[in-house]
C-alpha cells in the first residue's frame, strides 16, 4: 500500500468553534476516498485546509511524502474541483483546462478533455455549456497538470438528480483512467457509497468511521452512523421477530436494514404507509406493541393495502448496539 495523502491530527478552529478536531485520514495512491457527513460537519473545512485555502491550527498534511502543511496553495500541487465548477468565464474551455499547464501544452489539455467526454467542445465558452458539461471541464482542468491529489467539493450536488448517476460514473472512470488520487466530500450517502473506494464518515469535526462502502453500511460503528449511512430499522433485542436471526455484538437495540425485512401472509403487523418508487417500494409497518418498521420490496409485486394485516419475516444477520 502506497500512501499518497496523509492527514494527521488536523485541528482547525474558527474563534470558539472547533471545525476540525484531530482528524486523521489516509488516501492510498489511485484511490478515491469520500468524506461523508451532514452539512456543517466540517468536511468542506477539511478540504479547504488540505487545499491550503485555510491555515490549520495544528496537525500535518503530507502529499507523496512531502509535508505541505505550511505551503501556499500554488506550491502544494493539489487541484480542486469546486461545487459549481467555477470555470473562468472569460476563457474558452480549452484555455480553462490549460490554465495550470505550461504555455503551449495543448496536447495534454485535449487529452483530458477527451477523457471527460468533451473532445469537441474545446472552443466553446463556459456559458455555452450545460451544468454537467461545466463540471466535466472543471474535472479536466484539475486533472490536466497531473496533480498527485485531486479534491472534489460536492461536485454533483448542483445538478439535476437524473444527470448525476451518469456523470458520477464518467468522472469516476476519468479519474481512474488518469490514475488520479482523489478526496471527495459529500453529504449524499448514495454518492459516497457508489463512487468511493473508501468512505470516511464525519460528524461534528471528527471522523467517526473509515472503511470500504460495503463494510461501513454493513457494520456501522455506532447508531448515528447506522442512521446516516443508509436507512435504519431498530428493534429491541430479544424481540420475537429476531428469532432465528444471528445478532452480532451486544446491546439493547438491534439494527436491521429495510431490505432484510419481507412481507408475507399473516398478521404480525399492520401496513401504515406504502412509498412506491417504481423499481422498489418501502412498506411502513406497525407492530402491535407500537414499534415501527420499514420493509423494502421489489416494485413488480402488488402492494398491500394501507391498514391491512401482514406477516413479517427477517432474514440475514443483525447488529446490536
Amino acid at each position: 500500500m502506497v500512501v499518497e495523502l496523509e492527514i494527521s491530527s488536523l485541528t482547525k478552529r474558527f474563534g470558539r468553534v472547533t471545525a476540525l478536531s484531530s482528524v486523521d485520514l489516509v488516501v492510498e495512491i489511485g484511490h478515491l476516498v469520500a468524506v461523508l457527513g451532514p452539512s456543517g460537519c466540517g468536511k468542506t473545512t477539511l478540504l479547504r485546509c488540505v487545499a491550503g485555502f485555510e491555515r490549520v491550527d495544528s496537525g500535518r498534511i503530507v502529499v507523496g511524502g512531502r509535508d505541505v502543511t505550511s505551503l501556499p496553495p500554488q506550491r502544494r500541487r493539489i487541484a480542486v474541483v469546486p461545487q459549481e465548477g467555477a470555470l473562468f468565464p472569460h476563457l474558452s474551455v480549452v484555455d480553462n483546462v490549460a490554465y495550470g499547464l505550461p504555455r503551449g501544452s495543448l496536447k495534454r489539455a485535449h487529452e483530458v478533455l477527451a477523457l471527460v467526454g468533451l473532445a469537441d467542445m474545446g472552443e466553446r465558452m463556459p456559458h455555452q455549456l450545460s451544468g454537467g458539461q461545466q463540471q466535466r471541464v472543471a474535472v479536466a482542468r484539475a486533472l490536466a497538470p497531473r496533480p498527485p491529489v485531486v479534491l472534489l467539493d460536492e461536485p454533483f450536488s448542483a445538478l439535476d438528480a437524473a444527470l448525476r448517476p451518469t456523470l458520477r460514473r464518467d468522472i469516476r472512470a476519468a479519474l481512474r483512467a488518469d490514475g488520479a488520487t482523489a478526496l471527495l466530500v459529500t453529504h449524499d450517502q448514495g454518492e459516497a457509497l457508489s463512487i468511493a473506494d473508501e468512505v470516511a464518515v464525519m460528524r461534528e469535526g471528527r471522523i467517526v468511521q473509515t472503511g470500504p462502502p460495503t463494510s461501513v453500511y454493513a457494520a456501522p460503528s455506532d447508531p448515528w452512523v447506522a442512521g446516516f449511512v443508509g436507512e435504519a430499522v431498530w428493534l429491541p433485542s430479544g424481540h420475537a421477530l429476531l428469532a432465528g436471526v444471528r445478532v452480532v455484538g451486544a446491546g439493547e437495540r438491534v439494527l436491521l436494514r429495510p431490505e432484510q425485512i419481507s412481507v408475507v401472509d399473516g398478521s404480525d403487523a399492520v401496513v401504515v404507509r406504502t412509498d412506491f418508487h417504481g423499481h422498489d417500494a418501502v412498506i411502513g409497518l406497525r407492530l402491535p406493541d407500537g414499534t415501527d418498521l420499514a420493509a423494502r420490496i421489489l416494485g413488480g409485486a402488488g402492494l398491500p393495502e394501507v391498514g391491512a394485516p401482514v406477516g413479517v419475516r427477517v432474514a440475514g444477520q443483525a447488529r446490536a448496539f
Partner: protein, 487 residues
C-alpha cells in the same frame, strides 16, 4: 487593504469633519443665536415645504407611470417607459434654464416645484417599475385564489419599499438642489448659503445655514435607513409576467403631458436658443474652452474618486464585516450632503488648513471625490463580485502565483465594471454645479458654471450651447443605467 480603506474613507469625511470643526470654533452661543432667527425659520419652512410638495408630486406621477407602463395594456407603453426615465438626463439647472427662457416671469415656489418634479420623478418611477416587474406574480395569484383583490393587499405592499426609497431620494435631491432654485429665484437654504458666502462673504452665516441643512439631511437619512431595514424582498418566484390591466387609451394624455413638461419644454428651449447661441461670434471657442476645462476637472475628479474607492470597494466585496459596512456607510454620508455644503466646507478647509490646495483644481477634485465616492465604491464592489474568490482559489490550486492569478483572472473579469464606474463618476463630475462654483480657481469656467452664469444674467442664447452639451453628457449614464436595468 484595511488601512488603505480606512484612509480613503477618512479623506471622504474631510468636508463633514471640517464643518464640525468650524461650527465648534464659531462658538455654540453664536450659532444658536443665528439659528433661532425668523429668517432661518422661514428658510427652513420653505425648504421643507418644497421638498414635501415635490416628493408627493413625484410619488404620484412616478407610481402612476410605473403602473401604467408595467401592468397595463396601454398603447405605446414601451415608448412611455423610455420617456419616463429620460428626465434623468436633464440636470435640474438645465430644466430651470429651459423654463425661465421660455416662460416670462417664471419664478417662485410653485414654479420651482414644477421644475424639480419634472426632473426628479424618475427617482420614484425607476425603482417602482423595477419592483412591479420583479414582484412574484404567484403572490397576487394566491390573494386572488383566496378571494381578495390583490392591489392594496399585495401589490402595494410589494412596492412600498421602492416607493419609500424613491421618495426619500427625491426629498434629498430637492434639499440639496442649488442650480434650479437659484435660477427660478426661490429662497431656500442652498440659495441663501450661496448668497451669504458669495455676496456678503458672511462665513458664519453660511456656516450656520449649512449646519441646519446638514441636520435636515441627516433626519431624512435616518428615515431612509429605517425604511431600508424594514424593506421587503420581492424575490422572483417564476419568470411568468403579470396579467395586464385593461386601460385602453384613456391614460395616454396624462403620460403625454408629463413627458411634454419634463422633456418637451427643455427640447423646445434648446432648439429655440441653440442656433442663436452658436451663431454669436466667438461662442464656439468659449464652449470648447469650458468643455475642455470641465473635462480636465472631471477626469481628475474621476481618478481621485476611483483611487479612493478601490480599497473600500474591494474590502466590501472580499472581506465583508462590521468594518467594511461602516466604511461603506461613511462613503454615503458625504454623498447625501448637498454639494454646496461640501463646497463650503472645503473652502474653509482650503483657506485655513490646506492653503496650497486653495484655488487649485485639486481641491475641486477632492470635493468631487467626497460627493461621488459611493458611485465608484458600488461599481468596484460589483466588479469585484464578477471575480469571486473561488476562481482565485482554483487558479492557485493549479499552481499559479497570486500575481499571475491577479493578472490572468481578477483583472480581466473586474476591469469592465470598474471602467464603467469610472465613466459614470466622470460624467457626473462634468455636470456638478454648486461645489464647482465655490471651489473652481478664478477664471476656471466649466460647462455647468457657464450655463449658470449666462442664465443668471438672462443671456439665454449664450447659455443654450452649454445646456445642450450638458444634456448629452447626462444622457450617457442614463442610457447606460437603463440599459443595465433593462427597463
Amino acid at each position: 487593504m484595511k488601512s488603505a480603506a480606512v484612509a480613503a474613507s477618512a479623506v471622504a469625511l474631510i468636508p463633514l469633519v471640517y464643518l464640525g470643526v468650524r461650527v465648534g470654533e464659531a462658538g455654540w452661543d453664536r450659532i444658536t443665536g443665528e439659528i433661532l432667527t425668523e429668517r432661518t425659520a422661514l428658510l427652513a419652512g420653505r425648504s421643507v415645504a418644497l421638498a414635501a410638495v415635490v416628493t408627493v408630486a413625484c410619488v404620484v406621477i412616478g407610481v402612476a407611470s410605473a403602473f401604467l407602463v408595467t401592468r397595463t395594456d396601454l398603447p405605446g407603453r414601451r415608448v412611455f417607459g423610455v420617456l419616463a426615465a429620460l428626465p434623468l438626463a436633464v440636470p435640474s439647472y438645465v430644466a430651470a434654464f429651459a423654463w425661465v427662457s421660455t416662460v416670462d416671469d417664471f419664478e417662485g415656489f410653485w414654479d420651482a416645484a414644477l421644475v424639480l418634479t419634472a426632473c426628479s420623478y424618475p427617482y420614484v418611477y425607476l425603482p417602482v417599475a423595477a419592483a412591479l416587474i420583479g414582484a412574484d406574480p404567484a403572490q397576487e395569484e394566491v390573494a386572488r385564489s383566496l378571494g381578495r383583490r390583490p392591489f392594496l393587499s399585495v401589490t402595494m405592499r410589494q412596492i412600498r419599499p421602492a416607493i419609500a426609497a424613491g421618495g426619500l431620494l427625491v426629498a434629498l435631491y430637492v434639499l440639496s438642489d442649488f442650480g434650479a432654485v437659484s435660477i427660478v429665484r426661490v429662497d431656500v437654504f442652498t440659495r441663501a448659503i450661496f448668497t451669504s458666502i458669495n455676496l456678503g462673504f458672511d462665513r458664519t452665516g453660511a456656516l450656520v445655514l449649512a449646519t441646519v441643512l446638514v441636520l435636515l439631511t441627516l433626519a431624512l437619512l435616518v428615515g431612509e435607513h429605517m425604511t431600508r431595514t424594514r424593506g421587503a424582498r420581492y424575490a422572483r418566484g417564476s419568470l411568468r409576467t403579470h396579467a395586464r390591466v385593461r386601460v385602453g387609451w384613456i391614460p395616454v394624455p396624462f403620460l403625454a403631458l408629463v413627458s411634454a413638461v419634463a422633456l418637451g419644454v427643455p427640447a423646445y428651449a434648446l432648439a429655440r436658443w441653440f442656433v442663436a447661441g452658436v451663431s454669436r461670434p466667438g461662442s464656439v471657442a468659449e464652449v470648447v474652452t469650458a468643455a475642455s476645462q470641465s473635462f480636465v476637472a472631471a477626469a481628475l475628479g474621476g481618478v481621485v474618486t476611483l483611487l479612493l474607492a478601490l480599497p473600500v470597494g474591494l474590502l466590501n466585496a472580499r472581506s465583508p464585516g462590521p468594518l467594511a459596512t461602516v466604511l461603506d456607510r461613511i462613503a454615503y454620508v458625504s454623498h447625501a450632503l448637498p454639494g454646496l455644503v461640501i463646497g463650503l466646507s472645503l473652502v474653509f478647509f482650503g483657506i485655513r488648513v490646506a492653503y496650497p490646495l486653495y484655488q487649485t483644481i485639486w481641491l475641486l477634485a477632492l470635493a468631487y471625490a467626497a460627493l461621488f465616492l459611493p458611485l465608484a465604491v458600488g461599481a468596484v464592489s460589483s466588479a469585484a463580485a464578477q471575480s469571486p474568490p473561488v476562481l482565485e482559489e482554483v487558479a492557485r490550486s493549479l499552481g499559479r502565483s497570486p500575481l499571475f492569478v491577479f493578472r490572468s483572472v481578477t483583472v480581466p473579469l473586474a476591469a469592465p465594471g470598474i471602467g464603467a464606474g469610472a465613466a459614470l463618476v466622470f460624467l457626473t463630475c462634468m455636470k456638478e454645479l454648486p461645489a464647482t462654483l465655490l471651489l473652481r480657481p478664478t477664471g476656471f469656467d466649466t460647462l455647468a458654471t457657464e450655463l449658470w452664469t449666462h442664465t443668471d444674467t438672462a443671456e439665454f442664447a449664450a447659455a443654450a450651447p452649454y445646456a445642450l452639451v450638458l444634456v448629452l453628457v447626462s444622457a450617457l449614464p442614463t442610457w447606460w443605467l437603463s440599459w443595465k436595468s433593462r427597463l
